[in-house]
Symmetry: C2
Subunit: 410 residues, 2 copies
């Protein structure tokens, strides 16, 4: 007789449900499937030779140190290398006590939740926004308030009105979570004016901004946008970066930059969470940045992903039925599709999977469950020769469904 432990679970655990993205990642392991689902880099984009060389050097030079426990805030060499790089690529100055290394951006979100969120607190997020961010905040029983994302990022008029509305009910807002550049899932970016206005709104209402920036180095065209952190005069921006898209996600290395008081609390929150981030990965990342492997590598993956994006945009244009629209991202990893009103991307997904092609349903990214006719396509993971074929299969599924619903001539 085995025990049934369910009565012992915490309230938090009783509310836990499997994530959409996770269930979908399982599908991508099916043979023959063309997956545009997971937000995965191309495995061809990982610098395997550099990693092999760096690990050999590390083991020979200081293996006993590299494999030992490290401090909770992270390996000194990596924090130094990152501060120099952030100055150059993101235009802001920070010092060693302003940065903590985390086990991937997902842990950055978890630590932000641990430090700021009590049950019932409000967090403002985009609609749509990164699913695993809202999942992380919800683990702390916080409430998501959403603001529409438009072609130029978050709708600032709506944001102001939303904040006033929440404040009228005297409720506490902890921070505004944004992915300003090549947003997940839409691929759009917040304009410079939008960034300035966001900072002004945050200042006026004394709120923090959580700037999640995994993709800004993956720009394929257009003008570079300044990070919000680089325009932050009063320390209210908490900036999140990661090595996952410019080196490899399997190392689980990311970072948070912010005011000392915040970083110190995050260090205290990380100690009982995992003591320290894996030191081997940190030393690999430090050498990769400090010894100049990173820039030529980013050049290489930009070219690779530009080609993939263009292949997908071309296939969409050639193959999608009229009435289907999509974003035209200047960088990042995602294209966002909108099907005609009345279509349901969940039911077409089931059909798509029988045709051996996958995507993520859009409503998963809306905290309020709207966006039933939207979906996210990843263009960085699939092989080039599969992109055209996969979009063709998807277009056929949508065309049939539109015909069945009498939506083919809208």
């Amino acid at each position: 007789m085995k025990i049934s432990p369910s009565h012992l679970f915490s309230e938090r655990a009783k509310g836990m449900k499997a994530s959409e993205i996770r269930e979908l990642l399982k599908l991508t392991e099916m043979p023959d499937i063309i997956s545009f689902a997971g937000g995965l880099p191309s495995p061809a984009a990982f610098p395997v030779d550099a990693v092999e060389k760096i690990v050999a050097e590390l083991m020979e030079e200081k293996g006993g140190y590299v494999l030992q426990y490290g401090t909770t805030e992270g390996v000194t060499a990596l924090r130094k290398a990152l501060l120099a790089r952030l100055r150059e690529t993101q235009g802001f100055e920070a010092s060693m006590e302003n940065i903590i290394i985390t086990a991937g951006s997902q842990q950055s979100l978890d630590l932000v939740g641990k430090v700021f969120l009590d049950p019932g607190d409000n967090v403002i997020v985009g609609a749509p926004t990164y699913l695993a961010a809202t999942n992380a905040f919800r683990l702390f029983q916080a409430n998501m308030e959403s603001v529409p994302i438009e072609e130029n990022g978050m709708d600032m008029d709506y944001l102001e009105e939303k904040i006033r509305q929440i404040e009228r009910h005297s409720k506490s807002i902890k921070f505004i979570y944004v992915i300003p550049t090549f947003q997940n899932p839409m691929g759009v970016s917040l304009s410079v004016e939008g960034r300035k206005r966001l900072l002004n709104i945050a200042r006026e209402h004394d709120l923090l901004i959580l700037e999640d920036d995994p993709y800004s180095e993956l720009r394929y065209e257009g003008e570079k946008l300044p990070s919000i952190k680089s325009m932050d005069e009063d320390g209210r921006v908490v900036y999140m970066g990661t090595i996952s898209k410019v080196l490899a996600p399997g190392l689980r290395i990311a970072w948070v930059v912010g005011e000392v008081d915040i970083i110190n609390k995050m260090i205290l929150a990380k100690q009982p969470t995992d003591l320290c981030t894996n030191t081997l990965g940190q030393h690999i990342a430090a050498k990769y940045i400090a010894e100049g492997y990173i820039d030529p590598h980013i050049e290489k993956i930009r070219k690779m992903y530009l080609e993939k994006r263009d292949l997908m945009l071309k296939a969409l244009k050639e193959k999608m039925p009229e009435g289907v629209t999509w974003t035209n991202p200047e960088g990042g990893m995602f294209i966002w599709l909108t099907l005609p009103e009345g279509m349901n991307a969940r039911s077409t997904l089931e059909k798509a999977i029988t045709e051996k092609v996958a995507y993520v349903v859009g409503d998963a990214f809306f905290p309020d469950g709207t966006g039933k006719n939207t979906l996210r396509l990843n263009f960085t993971n699939a092989d080039n020769e599969k992109i055209d074929e996969g979009i063709g299969r998807l277009a056929a599924v949508f065309r049939r469904e539109m015909a069945d619903k009498g939506l083919e001539n809208i």
Copy 2:
């Protein structure tokens, strides 16, 4: 003008304080200090050549896979290798759905907390016990109830009485946390009879047992003890293991084995925490176990640590003033010292540090802050030729303090 974010912190964060062990680890970085403080393996005990060779093979054979995101439950090859090894070394059978890979035992503790602990819940722990475990549980605002640890492990009579006492107040007990073999910080082990009785008590009161087992493979003498999990008939033991002491802590690889319902909740709790454990480290650990590097390596470190333990026991015997007593561990990493009543290990630590030798104060390991005259010595990290010298310095500090307090002739 920088903002002051403190009013935005969560209640949880407002209660966070720096950990003793962390502050002490900083001291160990001072030049010339002989540190018996941190629970660190010897850097000479890391298989740096094997890691270099394994990484080279991994990068050449399947670098694109090894550096990619992995599933939340962990790399299949590692889970398989661990199940086979646990059958052999710990005497229990488990299947693939019973195991989750975590980012070190500290994350195992965090996930157990996420899955089981609501504010005000009770957890039963040893007095003394592993400091970072109680810190992890306290992050979930749980209450620690402690039971004395004796020469043969947790006092089972006291445990039964304590449970009855808590139950009389109709309070909920979530689990009993034990480190049955070579306990941290005392180095003692729970006898076979104690293990059986613990299981009976847990069954009678329908409680879970959290068995933390980082050290059992580091046995230097005496009879092997069965894991509690191997005697568990009704699935109430949640077993925690780690690669930190038999390969390297810097990889941050550990595991939890338990009933499917519990592991499934832990997977759901891990997703928003960090998506997955670093895949490079998992693949290194998988090859290290599956290709047979591990057993000869453990043989090597057992010899290395036995020598260090004996050096420390010999130095203690030769140098410590009368009235100081210590445990005689058959394995693990720690010796536990008790100074005469009236001595305070915190004030002697300040003096010890000026003499360039460090330890961890014992009261840090007591949830109720008792144990003022106790301290923990780690014998695995210091170089052999430093052990005698370090113990000599400590003995001189204690002798002087005892003389100052008139305690030299007790």
